[in-house]
């Protein structure tokens, strides 16, 4: 009898603990999981867009223009009678590709420049960081607009223009990360062992400094997709009839009565950017669990670096200000 009671209490405890663990998991990783799910869903959509789309995205039918959402056209039709849903699915391709290409290439270039600058030091560092500062003294979208307009309209040119303005924040972040790592003992040890500078930089320092870079990369895909959509909205991007979300919003911006033309592509942008932001935020917590634990002192935000403040990435101390 008494044994039964104990047993019952025990299973209760197990269930309770499981529940507690689940809720803790949700609190800690829920946002990241949701973000990851959204991102994966969109990637799948992008891959299978043409087979998922109920209509060919470029199919014009003037008799069916501006139809409201219905069973036939889930998200309605646009000015030329094209199916908004089909165009939206296919539009995922270009947005995701542009966002990822800009961030990966920009991130690599920036990290390389910043990392090498920090490790090399001296005159080389001075020059590289001045160049970074120079690009950073232009508000990104204005400079990107100027370059995109100058290069001519087209996806490749828009991506190129974005790359020109994209690398500096990675350069700054990578530099500050490497500067912190460089003074660590293990670097000195590697030095003593007689390893060469490139081996120390890429095999020892970079792996240790990579965390905040990953966070910035993930958060940044969202920003890049937003910027790309913005440039497309302004008419600097894809050439019609290629569907792109920003351009779809632009096509529907006068159509207040036919709200579906602009609303759904905008929701698509919002959802994919939210996905990347949740994911990046979650990765940040995961890499730096201390930052959200109750009672822990958050790390200082550095005051001069334009990269860590916007996304408030935990930085190992203030990054070295450019003047000083």
């Amino acid at each position: 009898m008494s044994a039964g009671l104990v047993e019952a209490r025990d299973t209760d405890g197990v269930a309770h603990r499981a529940r507690a663990r689940r809720s803790r998991w949700l609190r800690r990783y829920g946002l990241a999981a949701a973000g990851g799910a959204i991102v994966i869903a969109w990637i799948l959509v992008a891959i299978f867009a043409t087979s998922l789309a109920p209509y060919p995205y470029e199919q014009v039918d003037v008799t069916k223009r501006l139809l409201p959402p219905s069973a036939e056209h889930w998200l309605g039709t646009d000015l030329l009678g094209r199916d908004v849903f089909s165009r939206l699915l296919v539009g995922a391709r270009i947005s995701l590709i542009a966002g990822i290409v800009v961030v990966v290439v920009g991130g690599l270039v920036g990290t390389l420049i910043g990392g090498v600058a920090a490790y090399a030091g001296g005159r080389a560092e001075e020059w590289m960081m001045r160049a970074t500062d120079l690009v950073m003294c232009f508000p990104p979208i204005i400079l990107a607009m100027a370059i995109a307009a100058a290069l001519g309209i087209g996806v490749t040119n828009t991506i190129l223009a974005m790359l020109v303005v994209w690398w500096p924040k990675f350069a700054r972040l990578a530099r500050s990360l490497v500067l912190v790592q460089r003074s660590q003992e293990y670097v000195e040890a590697a030095h003593v062992l007689g390893y060469g500078p490139s081996r120390i930089l890429f095999r020892h320092i970079v792996p240790n400094a990579v965390g905040p870079l990953v966070v910035l990369l993930t958060l940044d895909v969202g920003t890049a997709i937003l910027t790309f959509a913005g440039l497309n909205f302004l008419g600097l991007g894809v050439i019609p009839p290629t569907p792109e979300w920003g351009q779809m919003v632009s096509e529907g911006r006068e159509l207040v009565e036919q709200w579906w033309v602009a609303t759904f592509p905008g929701l698509a942008i919002l959802s994919v950017v939210v996905g990347f932001n949740f994911l990046g935020d979650g990765i940040r917590d995961w890499l730096d669990p201390k930052s959200r634990r109750r009672g822990a002192t958050p790390r200082r935000l550095c005051w001069r670096c334009a990269t860590c403040a916007p996304s408030s990435i935990p930085m190992p101390g203030p990054c070295a200000p450019s003047m000083a």
């Binding site: 508000p139 204005i142 935000l301």
Partner: protein
Amino acid sequence: MFRYLTLRLASMAVMIVLSTLVVFLIATQVPADPVLAQLGDLQSADKELVASYRRKWGLDLPIWQQYLLYLQGLTRGDLGESISTHRPVLEDIRQYAPATIELATIAFLLSLVVSIPLGVIAAVKRDTPIDHVARLVSLIGVSAPTFWLAFIMLAVFYGGLQIAPGPGRLDVTALPPPKWSGLLLLDSAIVGQWDTLRDAAAHLVLPSIVLAASIVGLLTRTVRASMLEALAQDYVRVARAKGMRETAIVVRHALPNALVPVVTLGGIAYAILLTGAVMTETIFSWPGLGRYTFRSAIALDFPGIMGITLVVAVVYLVINLIVDLSYALIDPRVVQR
């Protein structure tokens, strides 16, 4: 302090000269031909005409001479003549700037009013549902495309509910105030045109909400983070030990210290507001710099877009300098480093 200031000013001067070089190189070393873009297909066939335009804009000179000419013009405040409006770019900028300044100022104030309380509450109620909701809201706010938000606002409040005025700064029936500062709120208040003032204010509501939304998320997160840091300081513990009320601790002790890092966001907020302004103004037909930039870019009006880019970069540098200096004033520890 003095040495710091001289260094900063010198480096800023160098940056400004270098940024003119960047702007100039983009304008001249690109495949697009502004003359052909401006003349259109029919006139471009006329070689004489094209050549005469090239001469007129100095496009036939060697590149370094063009740059020197450009610099020479800059020292006189001459940013060139806009190809599409046929007016000096500086004059254009002067005409369009007030609309943007008015909009951006209101939006900035609005975002402060929203994000400071939100950030403080999120920090004080850390890890409670309120904090999570604030985090969620700011993440979603950062993720919403400005141009889309502008469309939604117009569709709902102007098209649907019809409680907000449409695009533009004033109704067509409204009497514009005499132009003094170009800021409609100020100008109409000075001469006492209260109807115009009300109309201008009503037209500001939607665009400034849209513009503010682009920085609320960033500001809220920064306020929250720096508030958390402030609350963990010793002086807060001392104040608690003294038996001070929690509200007084938060508002009188922690908040002033927590707002210091927020000052530094000035430069970043400026850049974001300007980006947002390009989108917002395009949708709201706001006759400001954002729309001017957009139109110049589309028309390949290089003097126009280069002039804007340069002015914006210089203002950006100046704002960053002011931010850094004010930071040094607020927090003396910065200079000692």
